[in-house]
Amino acid sequence: MADLEGILRPPERQLPPYPPKSIYLATGEQMVVRPAVREETSMLLEAIAPLLYVERDFYDIVAARTFAELLGWKRYRVKDEYCLVGLIDGQLVGLVNGRTLSSKVGISYHTLALRRGLRVGAHLFASKMEYHIEILKQKYVYITAESPIGFRRWMLEYDLIQRPDIPHELGGVDVWTLTPELYHAAKDRLVVGERPVPAPLLKTAETITIPEEAQLVQQVTGRAKKRSS
Protein backbone atom coordinates (compact mmCIF):
# COMPACT_ATOMS: atom_id res chain seq x y z
CA MET A 1 0.00 0.00 0.00
CA ALA A 2 2.81 2.34 0.93
CA ASP A 3 4.44 1.62 -2.41
CA LEU A 4 1.23 2.45 -4.23
CA GLU A 5 0.94 5.73 -2.34
CA GLY A 6 4.47 6.46 -3.45
CA ILE A 7 3.31 6.11 -7.03
CA LEU A 8 0.19 8.25 -6.58
CA ARG A 9 1.84 11.00 -4.57
CA PRO A 10 3.87 13.54 -6.56
CA PRO A 11 7.36 14.24 -5.29
CA GLU A 12 7.41 17.09 -2.79
CA ARG A 13 9.46 20.15 -3.50
CA GLN A 14 9.80 23.06 -1.16
CA LEU A 15 8.81 26.19 -3.09
CA PRO A 16 10.51 29.45 -2.17
CA PRO A 17 8.37 31.25 0.40
CA TYR A 18 6.19 34.22 -0.51
CA PRO A 19 7.10 37.03 1.87
CA PRO A 20 3.91 38.36 3.50
CA LYS A 21 2.81 41.88 2.67
CA SER A 22 0.12 44.25 3.85
CA ILE A 23 -2.24 46.16 1.61
CA TYR A 24 -4.20 49.21 2.71
CA LEU A 25 -7.75 48.97 1.33
CA ALA A 26 -10.23 51.70 0.41
CA THR A 27 -12.02 51.31 3.73
CA GLY A 28 -8.82 51.83 5.70
CA GLU A 29 -8.67 48.15 6.62
CA GLN A 30 -5.38 46.36 6.13
CA MET A 31 -5.27 43.07 4.32
CA VAL A 32 -2.34 40.78 5.01
CA VAL A 33 -1.39 38.54 2.11
CA ARG A 34 0.57 35.48 3.16
CA PRO A 35 1.10 31.91 1.99
CA ALA A 36 -1.21 29.25 3.38
CA VAL A 37 0.23 26.00 4.62
CA ARG A 38 -1.10 22.55 3.87
CA GLU A 39 -2.45 22.20 7.41
CA GLU A 40 -4.78 25.13 6.75
CA THR A 41 -6.47 23.58 3.73
CA SER A 42 -9.30 22.05 5.77
CA MET A 43 -10.34 25.48 6.92
CA LEU A 44 -10.01 26.88 3.40
CA LEU A 45 -12.19 24.07 2.05
CA GLU A 46 -14.80 24.84 4.70
CA ALA A 47 -14.81 28.47 3.63
CA ILE A 48 -15.17 27.62 -0.05
CA ALA A 49 -17.83 24.94 0.27
CA PRO A 50 -20.88 27.25 0.51
CA LEU A 51 -19.87 28.90 -2.75
CA LEU A 52 -20.18 25.68 -4.75
CA TYR A 53 -23.84 26.53 -5.25
CA VAL A 54 -23.55 30.25 -5.98
CA GLU A 55 -24.12 30.65 -9.69
CA ARG A 56 -23.63 34.40 -9.71
CA ASP A 57 -20.51 35.53 -11.55
CA PHE A 58 -19.42 31.89 -12.01
CA TYR A 59 -18.58 31.52 -8.32
CA ASP A 60 -19.84 27.94 -8.49
CA ILE A 61 -17.33 26.78 -11.05
CA VAL A 62 -14.44 28.76 -9.62
CA ALA A 63 -15.25 27.55 -6.10
CA ALA A 64 -15.64 23.94 -7.26
CA ARG A 65 -12.34 23.94 -9.08
CA THR A 66 -10.51 25.71 -6.29
CA PHE A 67 -12.01 23.22 -3.84
CA ALA A 68 -10.71 20.35 -5.92
CA GLU A 69 -7.29 21.90 -6.32
CA LEU A 70 -6.91 22.57 -2.60
CA LEU A 71 -8.22 19.11 -1.78
CA GLY A 72 -5.64 17.76 -4.20
CA TRP A 73 -2.96 19.71 -2.33
CA LYS A 74 -4.23 18.51 1.02
CA ARG A 75 -4.30 14.87 -0.10
CA TYR A 76 -0.96 15.06 -1.93
CA ARG A 77 -2.32 14.73 -5.44
CA VAL A 78 -1.14 17.98 -7.04
CA LYS A 79 2.48 18.71 -7.71
CA ASP A 80 4.08 21.95 -6.57
CA GLU A 81 0.90 23.75 -5.61
CA TYR A 82 0.75 26.84 -3.45
CA CYS A 83 -1.99 29.06 -2.07
CA LEU A 84 -1.91 32.67 -0.91
CA VAL A 85 -4.57 33.98 1.42
CA GLY A 86 -5.84 37.50 2.07
CA LEU A 87 -6.79 38.18 5.69
CA ILE A 88 -8.33 41.18 7.42
CA ASP A 89 -8.02 40.89 11.18
CA GLY A 90 -7.47 37.20 10.63
CA GLN A 91 -10.66 36.73 8.65
CA LEU A 92 -10.30 35.14 5.23
CA VAL A 93 -11.36 37.61 2.52
CA GLY A 94 -9.88 35.88 -0.50
CA LEU A 95 -7.43 33.36 -1.81
CA VAL A 96 -5.45 32.55 -4.91
CA ASN A 97 -3.66 29.41 -5.93
CA GLY A 98 -1.45 28.03 -8.64
CA ARG A 99 1.49 25.73 -9.17
CA THR A 100 4.75 25.50 -10.96
CA LEU A 101 4.96 23.41 -14.12
CA SER A 102 8.71 23.79 -14.38
CA SER A 103 11.35 26.19 -13.18
CA LYS A 104 10.43 28.52 -16.04
CA VAL A 105 6.69 28.07 -16.27
CA GLY A 106 4.05 28.74 -13.66
CA ILE A 107 0.38 27.96 -13.86
CA SER A 108 -2.22 30.26 -12.42
CA TYR A 109 -5.19 28.34 -11.08
CA HIS A 110 -7.87 30.43 -9.43
CA THR A 111 -8.69 33.67 -7.67
CA LEU A 112 -11.58 33.75 -5.25
CA ALA A 113 -12.65 36.93 -3.51
CA LEU A 114 -14.81 36.28 -0.46
CA ARG A 115 -15.39 39.94 0.22
CA ARG A 116 -16.28 42.04 -2.79
CA GLY A 117 -16.10 45.67 -3.74
CA LEU A 118 -12.67 46.24 -2.23
CA ARG A 119 -10.52 44.95 -5.13
CA VAL A 120 -9.46 42.00 -2.98
CA GLY A 121 -9.36 39.73 -6.04
CA ALA A 122 -7.28 42.22 -8.01
CA HIS A 123 -4.79 42.56 -5.15
CA LEU A 124 -4.51 38.81 -4.66
CA PHE A 125 -4.10 38.05 -8.36
CA ALA A 126 -1.34 40.66 -8.48
CA SER A 127 0.31 38.99 -5.50
CA LYS A 128 0.16 35.67 -7.31
CA MET A 129 1.84 37.14 -10.38
CA GLU A 130 4.41 38.78 -8.12
CA TYR A 131 5.17 35.35 -6.67
CA HIS A 132 5.65 33.73 -10.06
CA ILE A 133 7.71 36.49 -11.63
CA GLU A 134 9.63 38.06 -8.75
CA ILE A 135 10.06 35.20 -6.30
CA LEU A 136 10.03 32.09 -8.48
CA LYS A 137 11.70 34.05 -11.32
CA GLN A 138 9.64 32.33 -13.94
CA LYS A 139 9.57 33.33 -17.59
CA TYR A 140 5.94 32.55 -18.26
CA VAL A 141 2.77 32.27 -16.26
CA TYR A 142 -0.02 30.38 -17.99
CA ILE A 143 -3.36 31.95 -17.22
CA THR A 144 -6.93 31.41 -18.27
CA ALA A 145 -10.27 32.83 -17.16
CA GLU A 146 -13.62 31.26 -16.45
CA SER A 147 -15.65 34.40 -15.85
CA PRO A 148 -16.05 37.76 -17.59
CA ILE A 149 -14.71 39.42 -14.45
CA GLY A 150 -11.58 37.30 -14.63
CA PHE A 151 -11.13 38.03 -18.32
CA ARG A 152 -11.41 41.75 -17.71
CA ARG A 153 -9.07 41.67 -14.72
CA TRP A 154 -6.34 39.48 -16.12
CA MET A 155 -6.37 39.43 -19.90
CA LEU A 156 -7.19 43.08 -20.42
CA GLU A 157 -5.58 44.78 -17.42
CA TYR A 158 -2.27 42.93 -17.83
CA ASP A 159 -2.41 42.98 -21.64
CA LEU A 160 -1.66 39.26 -21.69
CA ILE A 161 -0.52 37.41 -24.79
CA GLN A 162 -2.95 34.86 -26.16
CA ARG A 163 -1.34 31.50 -26.91
CA PRO A 164 -3.85 29.28 -28.73
CA ASP A 165 -1.07 26.73 -29.26
CA ILE A 166 -0.95 25.89 -25.52
CA PRO A 167 -3.94 24.29 -23.80
CA HIS A 168 -4.39 25.27 -20.17
CA GLU A 169 -4.53 22.32 -17.79
CA LEU A 170 -7.86 23.58 -16.45
CA GLY A 171 -9.49 22.72 -19.76
CA GLY A 172 -9.41 23.16 -23.46
CA VAL A 173 -9.40 26.94 -23.51
CA ASP A 174 -6.49 29.02 -24.68
CA VAL A 175 -3.63 29.95 -22.46
CA TRP A 176 -2.83 33.61 -22.00
CA THR A 177 0.68 34.28 -20.83
CA LEU A 178 2.24 36.78 -18.52
CA THR A 179 5.92 37.43 -19.08
CA PRO A 180 8.33 39.40 -16.88
CA GLU A 181 8.16 42.26 -19.41
CA LEU A 182 4.36 42.46 -19.24
CA TYR A 183 4.44 42.12 -15.47
CA HIS A 184 6.89 44.95 -15.00
CA ALA A 185 4.96 47.12 -17.46
CA ALA A 186 1.84 46.66 -15.34
CA LYS A 187 3.47 46.57 -11.92
CA ASP A 188 3.23 50.27 -11.07
CA ARG A 189 -0.52 50.35 -11.56
CA LEU A 190 -1.48 46.88 -10.38
CA VAL A 191 0.96 45.49 -7.83
CA VAL A 192 1.05 47.18 -4.43
CA GLY A 193 1.66 46.42 -0.79
CA GLU A 194 4.19 46.96 1.95
CA ARG A 195 6.91 44.74 3.39
CA PRO A 196 7.83 43.83 5.97
CA VAL A 197 4.47 43.49 7.64
CA PRO A 198 4.68 45.01 11.13
CA ALA A 199 4.78 42.23 13.72
CA PRO A 200 1.48 43.14 15.46
CA LEU A 201 -0.33 43.17 12.12
CA LEU A 202 1.28 39.92 11.04
CA LYS A 203 0.20 38.36 14.30
CA THR A 204 -3.44 39.08 13.45
CA ALA A 205 -2.97 36.95 10.36
CA GLU A 206 -1.47 33.94 12.09
CA THR A 207 -4.75 32.12 12.53
CA ILE A 208 -7.35 32.03 9.78
CA THR A 209 -10.98 32.59 10.70
CA ILE A 210 -13.80 32.26 8.22
CA PRO A 211 -17.08 34.15 8.03
CA GLU A 212 -20.41 32.52 8.86
CA GLU A 213 -21.92 30.81 5.83
CA ALA A 214 -24.83 33.25 5.49
CA GLN A 215 -22.53 36.22 5.77
CA LEU A 216 -20.17 34.73 3.23
CA VAL A 217 -22.89 34.14 0.65
CA GLN A 218 -24.25 37.64 1.24
CA GLN A 219 -20.77 39.11 0.79
CA VAL A 220 -20.24 37.27 -2.44
CA THR A 221 -23.64 37.66 -4.04
CA GLY A 222 -24.35 41.16 -2.80
CA ARG A 223 -27.82 39.77 -2.29
CA ALA A 224 -29.61 42.46 -0.38
CA LYS A 225 -31.60 41.50 2.61
CA LYS A 226 -35.15 42.63 1.98
CA ARG A 227 -35.91 45.91 3.57
CA SER A 228 -38.68 48.35 2.82
CA SER A 229 -40.61 50.98 4.67
Binding site: A26, G28, R119, D188, L190, S228
Partner: protein
Protein backbone atom coordinates in the same frame (compact mmCIF):
# COMPACT_ATOMS: atom_id res chain seq x y z
CA UNK B 1 -53.88 75.53 -8.91
CA UNK B 2 -54.19 73.34 -5.82
CA UNK B 3 -51.36 72.79 -3.37
CA UNK B 4 -49.88 69.30 -3.50
CA UNK B 5 -48.47 67.32 -0.59
CA UNK B 6 -46.53 64.11 -0.23
CA UNK B 7 -48.19 61.87 2.33
CA UNK B 8 -46.38 58.60 1.88
CA UNK B 9 -43.07 57.26 0.72
CA UNK B 10 -41.19 54.00 0.63
CA UNK B 11 -38.32 52.34 -1.07
CA UNK B 12 -36.54 49.07 -1.48
CA UNK B 13 -32.98 48.61 -0.51
CA UNK B 14 -30.88 49.52 -3.52
CA UNK B 15 -28.18 47.17 -4.72
CA UNK B 16 -28.09 43.90 -6.53
CA UNK B 17 -31.55 42.43 -6.16
CA UNK B 18 -32.86 39.00 -6.94
CA UNK B 19 -36.44 40.15 -7.51
CA UNK B 20 -37.67 41.17 -10.94
CA UNK B 21 -38.54 44.76 -11.76
CA UNK B 22 -42.25 44.44 -11.03
CA UNK B 23 -41.56 42.91 -7.63
CA UNK B 24 -39.28 45.81 -6.77
CA UNK B 25 -41.88 48.33 -7.92
CA UNK B 26 -44.54 46.56 -5.89
CA UNK B 27 -42.42 46.46 -2.76
CA UNK B 28 -41.78 50.21 -2.89
CA UNK B 29 -45.39 51.00 -3.86
CA UNK B 30 -46.90 48.99 -1.04
CA UNK B 31 -44.50 50.56 1.44
CA UNK B 32 -45.49 54.05 0.27
CA UNK B 33 -49.20 53.29 0.32
CA UNK B 34 -48.92 51.85 3.80
CA UNK B 35 -46.95 54.89 4.92
CA UNK B 36 -49.70 57.09 3.51
CA UNK B 37 -52.42 55.05 5.14
CA UNK B 38 -54.00 54.36 1.76
CA UNK B 39 -55.63 51.23 0.46
CA UNK B 40 -56.10 50.25 -3.14
CA UNK B 41 -59.39 52.16 -3.41
CA UNK B 42 -57.74 55.47 -2.66
CA UNK B 43 -55.29 55.72 -5.55
CA UNK B 44 -56.68 57.71 -8.48
CA UNK B 45 -53.75 57.22 -10.84
CA UNK B 46 -50.28 55.71 -11.11
CA UNK B 47 -47.15 57.03 -12.77
CA UNK B 48 -44.24 54.66 -13.16
CA UNK B 49 -40.78 56.05 -13.84
CA UNK B 50 -38.58 53.68 -15.76
CA UNK B 51 -35.86 54.28 -18.28
CA UNK B 52 -35.04 50.95 -19.77
CA UNK B 53 -37.02 47.86 -18.88
CA UNK B 54 -37.62 47.33 -22.58
CA UNK B 55 -33.89 47.09 -23.16
CA UNK B 56 -32.57 45.72 -19.87
CA UNK B 57 -35.34 43.33 -18.92
CA UNK B 58 -37.21 42.83 -22.20
CA UNK B 59 -40.32 44.14 -20.53
CA UNK B 60 -42.55 46.93 -21.76
CA UNK B 61 -45.86 48.26 -20.52
CA UNK B 62 -44.54 48.35 -16.98
CA UNK B 63 -47.22 50.70 -15.61
CA UNK B 64 -50.01 48.56 -17.04
CA UNK B 65 -48.53 45.47 -15.45
CA UNK B 66 -47.98 47.15 -12.10
CA UNK B 67 -51.52 48.49 -11.57
CA UNK B 68 -52.85 45.01 -12.15
CA UNK B 69 -50.36 43.42 -9.75
CA UNK B 70 -51.21 46.04 -7.13
CA UNK B 71 -54.94 45.54 -7.62
CA UNK B 72 -55.34 49.22 -8.44
CA UNK B 73 -57.50 48.63 -11.52
CA UNK B 74 -59.02 50.61 -13.19
CA UNK B 75 -56.70 53.43 -12.12
CA UNK B 76 -55.12 55.21 -15.08
CA UNK B 77 -51.44 54.28 -15.33
CA UNK B 78 -48.57 55.60 -17.41
CA UNK B 79 -44.92 54.85 -17.74
CA UNK B 80 -42.75 57.97 -17.81
CA UNK B 81 -39.36 57.79 -19.49
CA UNK B 82 -37.02 60.75 -19.28
CA UNK B 83 -33.65 59.10 -18.94
CA UNK B 84 -32.15 59.32 -15.45
CA UNK B 85 -34.62 62.13 -14.69
CA UNK B 86 -37.59 59.81 -15.22
CA UNK B 87 -38.35 59.75 -11.49
CA UNK B 88 -38.65 63.51 -11.14
CA UNK B 89 -40.61 63.70 -14.41
CA UNK B 90 -43.12 61.19 -13.08
CA UNK B 91 -43.52 63.20 -9.87
CA UNK B 92 -43.97 66.34 -11.94
CA UNK B 93 -46.74 64.69 -13.93
CA UNK B 94 -48.45 63.56 -10.75
CA UNK B 95 -48.10 67.05 -9.31
CA UNK B 96 -49.71 68.62 -12.39
CA UNK B 97 -52.54 66.10 -12.38
CA UNK B 98 -53.40 66.86 -8.75
CA UNK B 99 -52.78 70.60 -8.95
CA UNK B 100 -55.16 70.78 -11.91
CA UNK B 101 -57.88 69.11 -9.89
CA UNK B 102 -58.04 66.04 -12.11
CA UNK B 103 -56.94 63.58 -9.41
CA UNK B 104 -56.83 63.72 -5.63
CA UNK B 105 -54.18 61.11 -4.90
CA UNK B 106 -51.53 59.62 -7.14
CA UNK B 107 -48.95 56.91 -6.62
CA UNK B 108 -45.58 57.57 -8.25
CA UNK B 109 -43.07 54.75 -8.31
CA UNK B 110 -39.71 54.66 -10.03
CA UNK B 111 -37.56 51.62 -10.49
CA UNK B 112 -34.91 49.95 -12.54
CA UNK B 113 -33.39 46.50 -12.72
CA UNK B 114 -29.97 47.25 -14.14
CA UNK B 115 -27.93 44.40 -12.72
CA UNK B 116 -29.77 42.03 -15.04
CA UNK B 117 -27.07 42.87 -17.59
CA UNK B 118 -23.30 43.19 -17.39
CA UNK B 119 -21.63 46.44 -16.37
CA UNK B 120 -20.53 47.00 -19.94
CA UNK B 121 -24.07 46.54 -21.23
CA UNK B 122 -25.46 48.82 -18.54
CA UNK B 123 -22.96 51.52 -19.48
CA UNK B 124 -23.91 51.16 -23.13
CA UNK B 125 -27.62 51.27 -22.25
CA UNK B 126 -27.19 54.55 -20.39
CA UNK B 127 -25.07 55.90 -23.25
CA UNK B 128 -28.01 55.35 -25.59
CA UNK B 129 -29.41 58.69 -24.38
CA UNK B 130 -26.46 60.63 -25.80
CA UNK B 131 -26.65 62.30 -29.20
CA UNK B 132 -26.89 59.47 -31.71
CA UNK B 133 -24.83 60.99 -34.51
CA UNK B 134 -22.73 63.47 -32.57
CA UNK B 135 -21.72 61.42 -29.56
CA UNK B 136 -22.87 57.81 -29.32
CA UNK B 137 -21.38 56.55 -32.58
CA UNK B 138 -17.99 57.84 -31.45
CA UNK B 139 -18.09 55.69 -28.36
CA UNK B 140 -19.15 58.37 -25.93
CA UNK B 141 -20.43 57.05 -22.61
CA UNK B 142 -21.64 58.94 -19.57
CA UNK B 143 -18.39 58.33 -17.67
CA UNK B 144 -16.39 59.62 -20.62
CA UNK B 145 -18.54 62.76 -20.89
CA UNK B 146 -18.20 63.30 -17.17
CA UNK B 147 -14.44 62.74 -17.38
CA UNK B 148 -14.04 65.41 -20.04
CA UNK B 149 -16.37 67.71 -18.11
CA UNK B 150 -14.36 67.19 -14.92
CA UNK B 151 -11.09 67.91 -16.68
CA UNK B 152 -12.43 71.19 -18.05
CA UNK B 153 -13.90 72.21 -14.71
CA UNK B 154 -10.72 71.36 -12.83
CA UNK B 155 -8.62 73.39 -15.26
CA UNK B 156 -10.90 76.42 -15.03
CA UNK B 157 -11.66 76.51 -11.31
CA UNK B 158 -8.76 74.79 -9.60
CA UNK B 159 -10.71 71.76 -8.49
CA UNK B 160 -8.32 68.94 -7.63
CA UNK B 161 -8.59 65.18 -7.48
CA UNK B 162 -8.79 65.45 -3.71
CA UNK B 163 -11.99 67.49 -3.96
CA UNK B 164 -13.60 64.74 -6.00
CA UNK B 165 -12.42 62.22 -3.43
CA UNK B 166 -13.88 64.40 -0.65
CA UNK B 167 -17.31 64.04 -2.24
CA UNK B 168 -16.88 60.27 -2.39
CA UNK B 169 -15.69 60.00 1.21
CA UNK B 170 -18.55 62.18 2.46
CA UNK B 171 -21.22 60.36 0.53
CA UNK B 172 -19.93 56.91 1.45
CA UNK B 173 -19.92 58.00 5.08
CA UNK B 174 -23.56 59.07 4.71
CA UNK B 175 -24.44 55.92 2.79
CA UNK B 176 -23.04 53.82 5.63
CA UNK B 177 -25.81 55.33 7.77
CA UNK B 178 -28.55 54.60 5.25
CA UNK B 179 -30.01 51.09 5.46
CA UNK B 180 -31.41 51.48 1.94
CA UNK B 181 -28.07 52.36 0.33
CA UNK B 182 -26.44 50.13 -2.24
CA UNK B 183 -23.02 50.68 -0.67
CA UNK B 184 -23.07 50.94 3.09
CA UNK B 185 -19.36 51.20 3.51
CA UNK B 186 -17.28 54.21 4.49
CA UNK B 187 -14.03 54.76 2.64
CA UNK B 188 -10.99 56.79 3.59
CA UNK B 189 -9.10 59.49 1.76
CA UNK B 190 -5.94 57.45 2.29
CA UNK B 191 -7.47 54.33 0.80
CA UNK B 192 -8.88 55.93 -2.32
CA UNK B 193 -6.37 58.68 -3.00
CA UNK B 194 -3.36 59.23 -0.78
CA UNK B 195 -1.79 55.81 -0.19
CA UNK B 196 0.18 54.00 -2.94
CA UNK B 197 -2.48 51.25 -2.85
CA UNK B 198 -5.07 53.76 -4.08
CA UNK B 199 -3.87 53.16 -7.63
CA UNK B 200 -5.42 49.69 -7.39
CA UNK B 201 -8.17 50.40 -4.85
CA UNK B 202 -9.50 53.24 -6.97
CA UNK B 203 -8.48 52.69 -10.57
CA UNK B 204 -9.10 55.16 -13.40
CA UNK B 205 -12.45 54.89 -15.16
CA UNK B 206 -12.44 57.98 -17.38
CA UNK B 207 -9.61 60.17 -16.20
CA UNK B 208 -9.57 62.20 -14.08
CA UNK B 209 -12.54 60.22 -12.74
CA UNK B 210 -11.69 57.11 -10.82
CA UNK B 211 -13.87 54.26 -9.63
CA UNK B 212 -14.95 56.05 -6.46
CA UNK B 213 -15.95 59.08 -8.52
CA UNK B 214 -18.64 57.07 -10.29
CA UNK B 215 -21.97 55.80 -9.00
CA UNK B 216 -22.58 52.06 -8.94
CA UNK B 217 -25.00 50.25 -11.24
CA UNK B 218 -27.99 49.43 -9.06
CA UNK B 219 -31.35 47.74 -8.88
CA UNK B 220 -34.09 49.26 -6.79
CA UNK B 221 -37.32 51.18 -6.56
CA UNK B 222 -38.75 54.11 -4.65
CA UNK B 223 -42.30 55.38 -4.38
CA UNK B 224 -44.22 58.40 -3.12
CA UNK B 225 -47.91 59.12 -2.71
CA UNK B 226 -49.01 62.62 -3.62
CA UNK B 227 -52.35 64.12 -2.78
CA UNK B 228 -54.18 67.41 -2.75
CA UNK B 229 -52.95 69.34 0.27
CA UNK B 230 -56.42 69.90 1.60
CA UNK B 231 -56.93 66.12 1.74
CA UNK B 232 -53.62 65.46 3.45
CA UNK B 233 -54.82 66.25 6.94
CA UNK B 234 -55.93 62.72 7.72
CA UNK B 235 -52.61 61.16 6.69
CA UNK B 236 -50.63 59.35 9.41
CA UNK B 237 -47.57 61.58 9.01
CA UNK B 238 -47.22 65.34 8.70
CA UNK B 239 -47.53 66.27 5.05
CA UNK B 240 -44.53 67.54 3.14
CA UNK B 241 -45.51 70.05 0.50
CA UNK B 242 -44.14 70.35 -2.98
CA UNK B 243 -43.48 74.06 -2.67
CA UNK B 244 -41.95 74.38 -6.08
CA UNK B 245 -40.62 72.57 -9.07
CA UNK B 246 -38.78 73.52 -12.18
CA UNK B 247 -37.66 71.81 -15.34
CA UNK B 248 -35.37 72.97 -18.09
CA UNK B 249 -33.69 71.50 -21.10
CA UNK B 250 -30.44 72.18 -22.92
CA UNK B 251 -28.70 71.33 -26.18
CA UNK B 252 -28.47 67.57 -26.57
CA UNK B 253 -24.86 67.17 -27.74
CA UNK B 254 -22.57 68.56 -25.06
CA UNK B 255 -19.93 69.73 -27.56
CA UNK B 256 -22.49 71.98 -29.28
CA UNK B 257 -23.12 74.03 -26.15
CA UNK B 258 -21.55 77.49 -25.96
CA UNK B 259 -19.82 76.53 -22.74
CA UNK B 260 -19.90 72.85 -21.83
CA UNK B 261 -19.31 73.78 -18.18
CA UNK B 262 -22.41 75.96 -18.05
CA UNK B 263 -25.20 73.62 -16.95
CA UNK B 264 -28.01 75.93 -18.01
CA UNK B 265 -30.73 73.36 -17.42
CA UNK B 266 -29.65 72.87 -13.80
CA UNK B 267 -29.66 76.62 -13.27
CA UNK B 268 -33.00 77.05 -15.03
CA UNK B 269 -34.72 74.21 -13.20
CA UNK B 270 -33.45 75.36 -9.81
CA UNK B 271 -34.40 78.98 -10.47
CA UNK B 272 -37.92 78.00 -11.48
CA UNK B 273 -38.31 75.75 -8.44
CA UNK B 274 -37.17 78.48 -6.04
CA UNK B 275 -39.40 81.09 -7.71
CA UNK B 276 -42.44 78.87 -7.47
CA UNK B 277 -41.67 78.13 -3.81
CA UNK B 278 -40.93 81.80 -3.13
CA UNK B 279 -37.77 80.70 -1.45
CA UNK B 280 -34.11 81.13 -2.19
CA UNK B 281 -31.12 78.79 -1.86
CA UNK B 282 -30.32 80.22 1.57
CA UNK B 283 -33.67 78.91 2.82
CA UNK B 284 -32.69 75.30 2.18
CA UNK B 285 -31.38 73.11 4.99
CA UNK B 286 -30.85 69.86 3.10
CA UNK B 287 -30.23 68.96 -0.54
CA UNK B 288 -30.09 65.83 -2.63
CA UNK B 289 -28.06 66.40 -5.77
CA UNK B 290 -27.52 64.08 -8.73
CA UNK B 291 -23.95 62.94 -8.10
CA UNK B 292 -23.76 60.24 -10.74
CA UNK B 293 -20.16 61.46 -10.82
CA UNK B 294 -18.52 63.32 -7.94
CA UNK B 295 -17.82 66.35 -10.11
CA UNK B 296 -21.56 66.79 -10.68
CA UNK B 297 -22.28 67.31 -6.99
CA UNK B 298 -19.77 70.15 -6.90
CA UNK B 299 -21.07 71.80 -10.07
CA UNK B 300 -24.77 71.33 -9.30
CA UNK B 301 -24.23 72.88 -5.87
CA UNK B 302 -22.98 75.95 -7.69
CA UNK B 303 -25.51 76.05 -10.52
CA UNK B 304 -28.42 75.58 -8.12
CA UNK B 305 -27.26 78.73 -6.35
CA UNK B 306 -25.96 77.32 -3.07
CA UNK B 307 -22.40 78.48 -3.72
CA UNK B 308 -20.86 80.88 -6.24
CA UNK B 309 -19.73 79.31 -9.50
CA UNK B 310 -16.23 77.94 -9.05
CA UNK B 311 -16.56 77.85 -5.26
CA UNK B 312 -18.37 74.57 -4.68
CA UNK B 313 -15.13 72.79 -3.94
CA UNK B 314 -14.23 75.43 -1.35
CA UNK B 315 -17.50 74.75 0.48
CA UNK B 316 -16.59 71.09 0.40
CA UNK B 317 -13.17 71.84 1.91
CA UNK B 318 -14.84 73.78 4.70
CA UNK B 319 -17.15 70.90 5.49
CA UNK B 320 -20.24 72.92 4.61
CA UNK B 321 -21.85 69.99 2.81
CA UNK B 322 -21.28 67.38 5.50
CA UNK B 323 -24.16 66.09 7.63
CA UNK B 324 -23.25 68.58 10.34
CA UNK B 325 -22.40 71.37 7.92
CA UNK B 326 -24.24 74.51 6.88
CA UNK B 327 -25.92 72.78 3.95
CA UNK B 328 -25.75 68.99 4.11
CA UNK B 329 -25.74 67.58 0.59
CA UNK B 330 -26.70 64.01 -0.15
CA UNK B 331 -27.33 62.77 3.38
CA UNK B 332 -28.70 59.60 1.76
CA UNK B 333 -25.27 58.86 0.32
CA UNK B 334 -26.38 60.24 -3.02
CA UNK B 335 -26.18 58.31 -6.23
CA UNK B 336 -22.57 57.63 -5.27
CA UNK B 337 -23.40 55.39 -2.32
CA UNK B 338 -27.18 54.99 -2.16
CA UNK B 339 -26.98 53.85 -5.77
CA UNK B 340 -28.50 54.83 -9.08
CA UNK B 341 -31.23 52.61 -10.49
CA UNK B 342 -31.88 55.26 -13.10
CA UNK B 343 -35.69 55.26 -13.12
CA UNK B 344 -35.83 55.24 -9.32
CA UNK B 345 -33.34 57.98 -8.55
CA UNK B 346 -35.59 61.05 -8.80
CA UNK B 347 -38.20 59.40 -6.59
CA UNK B 348 -35.54 58.26 -4.12
CA UNK B 349 -34.24 61.82 -3.83
CA UNK B 350 -37.72 63.06 -2.95
CA UNK B 351 -38.21 60.15 -0.56
CA UNK B 352 -35.02 61.06 1.28
CA UNK B 353 -36.13 64.68 1.57
CA UNK B 354 -39.50 63.62 2.94
CA UNK B 355 -37.80 61.48 5.58
CA UNK B 356 -35.46 64.35 6.42
CA UNK B 357 -38.28 66.88 6.68
CA UNK B 358 -40.34 64.53 8.82
CA UNK B 359 -37.35 63.86 11.07
CA UNK B 360 -37.34 60.15 10.19
CA UNK B 361 -33.86 59.84 8.69
CA UNK B 362 -32.27 58.06 11.63
CA UNK B 363 -28.52 58.32 11.97
CA UNK B 364 -28.27 60.58 8.96
CA UNK B 365 -30.91 63.05 10.13
CA UNK B 366 -30.11 66.65 9.34
CA UNK B 367 -31.03 68.87 12.25
CA UNK B 368 -33.89 71.33 11.91
CA UNK B 369 -34.62 70.70 8.26
CA UNK B 370 -37.65 72.68 7.12
CA UNK B 371 -37.01 73.07 3.40
CA UNK B 372 -35.27 70.62 1.13
CA UNK B 373 -34.08 70.77 -2.47
CA UNK B 374 -33.33 68.08 -5.00
CA UNK B 375 -32.00 68.02 -8.52
CA UNK B 376 -32.54 65.11 -10.91
CA UNK B 377 -30.14 65.39 -13.83
CA UNK B 378 -31.26 63.81 -17.09
CA UNK B 379 -28.99 63.11 -20.03
CA UNK B 380 -25.77 64.98 -19.52
CA UNK B 381 -27.64 67.97 -18.15
CA UNK B 382 -29.97 68.35 -21.10
CA UNK B 383 -33.19 67.67 -19.19
CA UNK B 384 -33.15 68.56 -15.53
CA UNK B 385 -35.82 68.77 -12.86
CA UNK B 386 -35.63 70.36 -9.44
CA UNK B 387 -38.00 70.30 -6.48
CA UNK B 388 -38.29 72.38 -3.36
CA UNK B 389 -40.09 70.59 -0.55
CA UNK B 390 -41.29 72.14 2.68
CA UNK B 391 -42.68 70.63 5.82
CA UNK B 392 -45.83 72.02 7.35
Amino acid sequence: MRDVAIIGCGMTKFGRREEDLLELLMEASLAAMKDAGLDHRSVDAVYVANMGAGILNYQTGVASALVDRLNLLPAPADTVENGPASGASAIKNAFLAIASGLYDSVLVVGGEKMRAVTGWEATDFVASMTHRQGEYIYGVTLPSLAGMFARLHMAKYGVKQEHLAMVAVKNHENGAKNPYAHIQQAVTMEGILLRPEAVVNNPPIAEPLRMYDCCPVSDGAAAVVLCAAEKAKDAPHPAVHIAGFGQATDIHAVYQRDDPLDLKAVRGAAKAAFEMARLCPQDIQVAELHDAFTILEIVESEQAGFFPVGQGHRALEEGATRLDGKLPINPSGGLKARGHPVGATGVAQVTELVWQLRGQAGERQVSQAVNGFCCNFGGFGNNVLAFVLSRE
